[in-house]
């Protein structure tokens, strides 16, 4: 097996709250691994730490603990000066394309910027490549002379994607790239990303709160809850056989494409606990319909399910009580 392009082990990120000794526990010991060319989907509610993980992986936020290995190189603590040349191989697409682009720069210059920074090209080579990139993201070349205020959200996100693929990176982190866009535009951007995934060899970390979106694009999915991974499986396997009660309820909230499909839903009760005071033991136990006494005391470890690399962190897997009995809805 080839070595992963990205490996994250025991990543912890705590943000200070202003009061001494009180922290927001955004990420609590996350392990991740992405193979070259693989697309890993990361789902979780807002506050589950998914964006923080994405930003920490690119060293846009400093991890509190843990180790990040990119392309077999430990990048956890290297200074920004050494980080900069590596950024050629790791790019990012942000959630809100309106604010992710310098409003004073021309679109063409924005797309060309990563090439200007990392590749040794003549001005005309760079211009030609910029036009190629615009074509690849289906952006009309006349937009290259405009500024971001003249473009729509979908067009701007195409610009961001063109920027991200300009240097042929090994990893692209996409932080909810479609969630701020209209539904029809969202589908176009997803199609574009699927296309790019097939054209390039870049691995992707696709962050989203929407299972449907992640399902379309990911080879594998990790489910996050309160800054911890609760389940990780290949996409089809997760949808066929979700093992963690949280994944099961997430999937039951996800509408299938078939309008005649019988809906069996399980809606979670209560609120997500505060990341300042995490519940003891299994952090999901306060909302878990199948929680037992021991869930309060013991921290769940990953359980292997089958041989496809499917793992779930639930204490009730050994006794088989991890299944939520579905309540049928008409």
């Amino acid at each position: 097996m080839t070595s992963p392009v990205l490996n994250v082990s025991n990543l912890v990120k705590r943000f200070p709250t202003g009061r001494s000794g009180v922290f927001v526990n955004a990420v609590n010991g996350v392990d991740l691994s992405i193979a070259p060319g693989e697309t890993l989907g990361m789902v979780g509610e807002s506050g589950s730490g998914k964006s923080t993980i994405g930003r920490a992986v690119l060293r846009l936020t400093e991890p509190t603990e843990g180790k990040i290995t990119f392309d077999s190189r430990d990048i956890t603590a290297i200074p920004e000066r050494q980080m900069r040349p590596l950024r050629r191989d790791m790019q990012m697409v942000f959630q809100d394309p309106w604010s992710a682009l310098n409003p004073r720069m021309r679109i063409g210059d924005l797309i060309a910027e990563p090439m200007k920074l990392h590749l040794d090209l003549s001005k005309s080579e760079r211009e030609n490549k910029t036009i190629d990139l615009a074509n690849r993201v289906h952006l009309r070349p006349e937009f290259l002379r405009r500024h971001s205020a003249d473009l729509s959200g979908g067009q701007l996100q195409r610009v961001c994607i063109a920027r991200a693929i300009a240097t042929n990176p090994k990893l692209i982190v996409l932080d909810e790239p479609t969630s701020s866009l209209d539904l029809s535009v969202r589908a176009e951007i997803l199609d574009l990303l699927t296309e790019i995934r097939e054209q390039t060899s870049a691995a992707m970390l696709f962050i989203s709160h929407d299972l449907g979106t992640v399902k379309l694009i990911s080879d594998r999915i990790v489910v996050l809850y309160l800054g911890s991974v609760v389940e990780s499986a290949r996409t089809e396997e997760l949808f066929r056989n979700p093992a963690h009660p949280y994944s099961q309820s997430l999937l039951s909230a996800h509408l299938p494409a078939d309008p005649n499909a019988k809906l069996s839903r399980h809606i979670l009760k209560g609120e997500v606990p505060s990341p300042i005071n995490l519940p003891s033991g299994c952090t999901f136990r306060t909302r878990c319909p199948v929680a037992k006494d021991f869930c309060e005391r013991e921290v769940p470890k990953p359980h292997q399910i089958g041989t496809s690399g499917h793992e779930a962190n639930c204490l009730r897997i050994p006794d088989g009580g991890n299944r939520i009995t579905p309540s049928e809805v008409a």
């Binding site: 690119l58 846009l60 920004e80 900069r84 040349p85 950024r87 050629r88 790019q91 990012m92 942000f94 809100d96 604010s99 992710a100 682009l101 310098n102 409003p103 004073r104 720069m105 021309r106 679109i107 063409g108 210059d109 060309a112 910027e113 990563p114 200007k116 920074l117 990392h118 001005k123 760079r126 211009e127 910029t130 006349e142 290259l144 002379r145 405009r146 003249d150 961001c160 920027r163």
Partner: protein
């Protein structure tokens, strides 16, 4: 640096009508009549400064020994001074000093202040504290006394006046730029620039500067008014520029002696010129600030 900042994609997608000063002025006058008045005053003095040689009826520094302290007449519109020099010609020539000090002084303030504001705002922490406390320290002294002391100590020359004024006023630009950068540094496009692999100097000068410089630009006219005022004050106090140089402050100093004996024209006309130019610059500067600050615009 110039190469990296320039655009590969020059040329506008939409064609703009040709620039016309008259149409511009009419447009501005509709929005803000005071700003248009300010521009007209500045333009008038600008013409005086540029074409003084053609506008002056007499040499500003040649003395008519037989015409000392003559009142305004057809030959000497603003009268003559204690040396028998033509006050009208001297007032016109004085515009050269007004602009000649104010423009380079403000440029120097910008060259010092803007990069300091950028770095202090972006880096934050100890560097920010040290830089800004030092600049606050500069602002604590009454600027006229500090300028007086420094010019007196460094030597009486026009260049020293420009350097001192430019340095003393740089905190104004540093503050404005720093506060803009503080608001911008956590914005997504700056993070996106960092993620793309931009070195710090490019984040500062290519990404932050064009977005943070508007407030500083709005200050330029008001700071030029300040520079005109302070340089005239220094000359009035006899520091920097000396009589019989045709500088307004120096002329007012010379004329002040004759006020008591009734020869009012020697001090009055350079005084009016000074007030008008400062007033015009302030009107224009106020208009600039209104245009760039949406809160001030909304209040009108």
């Amino acid at each position: 640096m110039a190469e990296t900042v320039s655009s590969d994609f020059e040329g506008d997608a939409t064609s703009k009508p040709a620039f016309s000063l008259k149409n511009r002025l009419i447009g501005i006058a509709r929005v803000s009549p005071t700003m248009a008045a300010g521009i007209l005053i500045i333009l008038a003095f600008g013409v005086m400064a540029l074409f003084a040689e053609f506008l002056m009826p007499h040499d500003p520094v040649s003395a008519y020994h037989d015409r000392i302290l003559q009142p305004p007449s057809a030959e000497h519109w603003f009268g003559t001074d204690g040396n028998g020099m033509d006050v009208f010609s001297r007032v016109i020539y004085g515009a050269k000093f007004g602009f000649g000090i104010a423009i380079p002084a403000v440029l120097l303030s910008i060259i010092i202040g803007v990069p300091v504001g950028l770095i202090a705002g972006y880096r934050g922490g100890l560097l920010d504290e040290v830089l800004m406390r030092f600049f606050d320290g500069l602002r604590v002294f009454p600027s006229i006394i500090l300028a007086l002391a420094v010019v007196a100590a460094t030597g009486q020359s026009l260049l020293n006046v420009v350097l001192v004024l430019g340095f003393l006023d740089s905190p104004v630009f540093a503050r404005v730029v720093r506060s803009e950068v503080l608001a911008l540094r956590s914005s997504v496009f700056v993070e996106s620039a960092k993620a793309a692999g931009n070195p710090t100097w490019r984040i500062l000068f290519v990404h932050l500067l064009p977005n943070a410089v508007q407030g500083a630009m709005a200050q330029t006219a008001v700071r030029a008014a300040w520079a005109v005022r302070i340089s005239a004050t220094l000359a009035f106090l006899g520091v920097g520029i000396q009589a019989p140089t045709p500088e307004w402050g120096a002329m007012i100093r010379q004329g002040a002696e004759f006020m008591v004996t009734g020869q009012w024209w020697v001090a009055l006309y350079p005084g009016i010129a000074l007030i008008l130019l400062v007033f015009g610059l302030n009107l224009f500067g106020d208009g600039l600030q209104d245009l760039t600050d949406p809160r001030r615009r909304a209040a009108k």
